[in-house]
Symmetry: C2
Subunit: 672 residues, 2 copies
């Protein structure tokens, strides 16, 4: 191909991407044309000249990962996926942003083949990409053998000015630099424009200097509309395997439109007239819409054969790997499938025998983690600088640190927000079961990625300890009140707050088994009694979310007491008191609303008979919300405001969260 | 004083601070000795050599502000406040971390004189300090006159490694650099240690380079145990009035203890033996506890007279200011008192006459803001780069930007988390009524400062638009589901979701009047009908949180329909349908749970008669939580999972949030 033909081909590819996006947005009468028009060259160069992927198999384990951090540029990604041969026909592009299409407003994981994660909330993309790059290095460290790097791929992300301003990006970039994730490459679409105008009004920092301070290689700035310049810059980024790389590409937002270079082109369709003007301006046919020239179709379509060849080569190497290292291969393949080994949970059996002394559930959790880790190699995680308190270190399993990629313990630093996102990215990559940990009060810092995990339906385990006023002296900033209710209300999030050590083991088991969404595990700071399972029903009931723990007599009770976590034992004590007074009382342990709500009506009605309206809940958190189970006629023992700084025992008395208070409320409901 | 005496005095002061903290923590058997021991010199130099404050009047408007970002070092602050003459006697220090004391585990605003904000959650402190520095410059720009800088003070903060890792710090520092807040000085207690060990395991970035990239002056590193070196560095920081300054002070955590320089000294009492060793090591008397030598008592106590003199001088200047500029003085003093001008809300009267056409409540909100702004000079705020969508620009009021400190519109950038904290800091400074804005889905990014505002009980207005699936095509990442419930559950947070333009005006009125806590205002993206107030009850009912909007007949109804925001009109339509079918129906508009719950029992029971159990709620958000008002026998129309990407009208039909669905549920409850 001569250089003119080649130059025209590049232009045609880039304009095809641009105008597929423009046309789809125009047809939907909704969307964001600015970034696809401005960054089309970046997407083209990445997909055409670098990305190792097989459009025929979006799940190939050793593919390069690509994350579009500015999810509002979704049509640019859909155009790439369509042109390179993913199962995303033009008919889907024509249904952009319509109900039931595979081309929603922002890319959604699980809905569209080739979409590696759901993006839209700014800053999440690059932070998740860090997690993907972590797992790539971790698997490589464990399984690569001389001459056969069975896991060896890049993680690319296109990032925008918006993401650069988000704190989560700073957190994730700082950690990526600390770890030396050399196979992570962020391509920065530096267009100097944001919604409120030029970035100068709010963002005068020197991004290149900032990233160098983090320990990144910074390449550029280069002209983001010059494909060869972008290619050379990315090549330079790839060649530095010691540091993550930021490739700064200067672009014009809305390139080709009269509104190019202004905020006006960011977030709404161009309008028919401007679409036509822009096409003419760039020498593009104004009809038909959704035009893909034959040379583009043919050239971009080469990705399919190239990808199949690449995966084939890899499969051959995998076969060689199986032959040479059968045990490693079996373990790696099981990891990639997300499968738990046979008998993985055998250590949980009788881990806490009946004579176990009172212990904090965070301590029990640490014991469970240490017990499971040898059988569940996939477990990798850590805390936001609180592991001595959260008890989440896997002892003896080593650190995942600077250029030391084999350990299981990741020190996230005081970066809760990035921690959540990085853990998500780890799960998305596949091959590991990530967990995070911090105090429950600080779950507030992690909400955006937790919501994304629930939306994506991925397995991540978020451990939160110090789960109530039981925190004690650290006071109201560290005492969660509304957090339990808040986390329960995220769709597809499962929260489990076990009552004691035995329920803690069950909670971990369920978290590991939950492959269709994230799980929140909530543990106490303070000691709680281990429930006497000879007098009470077994902890396996955790599986049902709520279960009959104890009752004074068979049959329908007069009164139901419902407890969670550290307050379950208060409910039990109150129940026994009231039974002594002749009240027919049932005590329900309800560690998980979500698991209970998923039981069938018969189970739920048997446990909480609709006719029994004398119900008391007890939880050392917000009372608001408990009406779901106690209705308008019940009573909630719990918090009605913020906590205070004092020893925990005093606080429980001060805020009247005691067995006596539960008994008083129950008695009043029954006796009137 | 000769140099030896002076050196001993400094040592004595620093050791007094150290060991007051150590003794209090030991007595409480709980707390964090590491930072007070390591950073005592920094606190001493700031308070003794720089801080302009009057311990006898912690509310003096032109005092320097001091924020202790690592709130776990609270005892260091309490020691300073005690020694410099605040109303915090030694007896309070001896009750550290006990119920009812003024010395809680982390500093709490409003509880302890001299505590400028509640700190503890890391990173919040410095971000709030940015807000304080913003208001200082804003007031100065408006009110200072040649020769009489009536507002002219510094904002100091001590920050720690933990804060440096938090994304919110990056966001706030980037904005502070952009704005050129030269009177903001952060003193960095750089001790290289965090809870999980040396910071090298997770934080290898170059902090000085990072802050220079933000546009900050960086001074140091200096030896943080050398008072004169620290003084010189802070002096250098003060001299650069064009840029905020970071003063890097290298310190040894737990200085004086055998555990100094290790993570083991961070978060638990030293123990009696180690206390004794450390005192002996630093040449400090081992008895009595809580020892304050006379020379220290005398020297530190000078702060009181100095402060009174400083305030006196300022008061004289204020009197001169009143004489020279009576109108400006009156306005400034009213601002500082947080008072609204007489007739401030006169523009709201009949702002939306009965014939007003359907409009999105975000549009109505923009109209209200423009109407109020000329009368409420204190209003200053902006959005996280979404003002064209949130309609929160005060047109004609100018920008607050780089070295341009007079405007009312602050471009926060895509930094939701820092935006919340900066707004809080602005409120804490006093003199303004700050507001923020973004999409409701992104409230998740702002939770930690919002919670702090509620805990501190300060007036901040958080505007959130695009409040439901009414967002439409942007899809589930941008469609809030659980956010309404989540924000309602924060103690002392008031959320108002008005039904139409008329309720929107009332909502803003209530937000401005709420001086004891933050208010969340929630607005639609999509158009909603303006309720016909000739047929329905007036919008003033918003004040009661919920009110009778319309009913088919007087007396107790058979059925109650409860709506909020955009769904109120659906409830009304359904009510009229069912009335036509002969059902005695009442329609309740419930824009604010919190305001309703604050009404007396009589009002609540009259509106929602306890005997009427046929109740339907309708809200395009999470159904979970509505049991609070509909009980176990009612029905909730709302969302039960995430949204989707499609035109809004289609989504409401798809998710069955329609007047028909409400009517169907109501009919089923009544007719069975």
């Amino acid at each position: 191909m001569d250089s003119n033909t080649r130059a025209k081909l590049v232009d045609d590819c880039v304009n095809t991407i641009r105008f597929l996006a423009v046309d789809a947005i125009q047809k939907a009468n909704s969307g964001h044309p600015g970034t696809p028009m401005g960054a089309a060259t970046l997407a083209y160069v990445l997909f055409d000249r670098f990305l190792k992927h097989n459009p025929a198999n979006p799940h190939w384990a050793d593919r390069d990962r690509f994350v579009l951090s500015p999810g509002h540029a979704s049509m640019m990604l859909y155009a790439m996926l369509h042109l390179t041969g993913y199962d995303l026909p033009l008919s889907e592009l024509k249904k952009f942003r319509q109900l039931g299409s595979r081309t929603p407003g922002h890319p959604e994981y699980g809905l569209t083949p080739g979409v590696e994660m759901t993006t839209g909330p700014l800053g999440q993309g690059i932070a998740h990409a860090v997690g993907m790059a972590v797992v790539e290095r971790w698997l490589a460290a464990h399984y690569n053998r001389p001459g056969n790097p069975i896991i060896d791929h890049f993680t690319y992300s296109i990032v925008s000015d918006g993401a650069m301003q988000e704190g989560i990006t700073s957190e994730a970039a700082s950690l990526a630099g600390t770890l030396g994730l050399g196979k992570l490459i962020a391509v920065y679409d530096d267009n100097h424009i944001q919604i409120e105008g030029s970035i100068d009004i709010t963002f005068r920092e020197n991004v290149a200097r900032r990233f160098r301070a983090y320990g990144w290689q910074v390449v550029g700035p280069v002209n983001g509309h010059d494909a060869d310049a972008v290619e050379a810059a990315i090549e330079e980024a790839r060649n530095d395997e010691m540091r993550p790389s930021l490739v700064i590409c200067e672009t014009v937002i809305g390139y080709g439109s009269r509104r190019g270079g202004t905020a006006r082109v960011h977030g709404e369709p161009l309008g028919e007239e401007e679409v036509q003007w822009a096409k003419e301006n760039l020498g593009w046919p104004t009809t038909p819409d959704f035009y893909v020239p034959d040379n583009v179709r043919e050239h971009m379509g080469l990705a399919l054969q190239r990808g199949q060849d690449q995966e084939e080569e890899w499969k051959n190497r995998l076969q060689a790997y199986r032959d040479d290292f059968p045990e490693d291969a079996a373990q790696l393949e099981a990891l990639l499938l997300g499968k738990l080994a046979r008998g993985w949970d055998i250590g949980l059996k009788d881990l806490f025998p009946p004579d176990t002394k009172s212990m904090a559930t965070r301590i029990a959790s640490g014991t469970v983690l240490r017990t499971l880790a040898p059988m569940v190699h996939a477990l990798i995680g850590g805390s936001a600088d609180l592991s001595p308190s959260t008890k989440t270190t896997i002892e003896g399993a080593g650190d995942f640190g600077w250029r030391q990629f084999i350990g299981h313990n990741l020190h996230f630093g005081v970066r809760e927000h990035a921690m959540g996102a990085i853990a998500n990215g780890m799960s998305l990559h596949g091959g590991v079961i990530p967990y995070t940990a911090t105090f429950l009060a600080f779950s507030d810092y992690m909400r955006p990625p937790m919501r994304l995990a629930a939306l994506m339906g991925i397995r991540v385990i978020y451990v939160f300890t110090h789960d109530s006023i039981g925190v004690g002296e650290d006071g109201p900033t560290h005492q969660p009140i509304e957090q339990l209710m808040n986390l329960r209300s995220i769709p597809n999030m499962t929260l489990i707050r076990p009552a004691d050590a035995t329920e803690t083991a069950e909670a971990w088991r369920l978290a590991l088994e939950n492959t269709t969404g994230p799980t929140v595990l909530v543990f106490t700071r303070q000691k709680v009694p281990v429930i006497d399972r000879e007098k009470c029903q077994p902890a396996e009931g955790v599986r049902h979310g709520a279960y009959l723990l104890w009752q004074s007599s068979a049959g329908e009770p007069e009164l139901i007491l419902i407890g969670t976590g550290s307050e379950t034992s208060l409910a039990l004590e109150a129940g026994q008191t009231l039974a002594g007074e002749g009240i027919a009382v049932r005590v329900v342990s309800m560690p998980s609303w979500e698991l209970f709500d998923r039981q069938d009506q018969a189970y739920r009605d048997e446990l909480l008979p609709p006719a029994v309206r004398a119900r008391v809940s007890v939880e050392a958190g917000s009372r608001i919300g408990w009406e779901r189970y106690i209705g308008l006629d019940g009573a909630a023992v719990g918090m009605n405001g913020f906590g205070a700084s004092a020893p925990a025992d005093e606080l429980f008395r001060h805020f009247k969260i005691t067995a006596e208070a539960v008994a008083d409320q129950g008695r009043a409901l029954v006796r009137g």
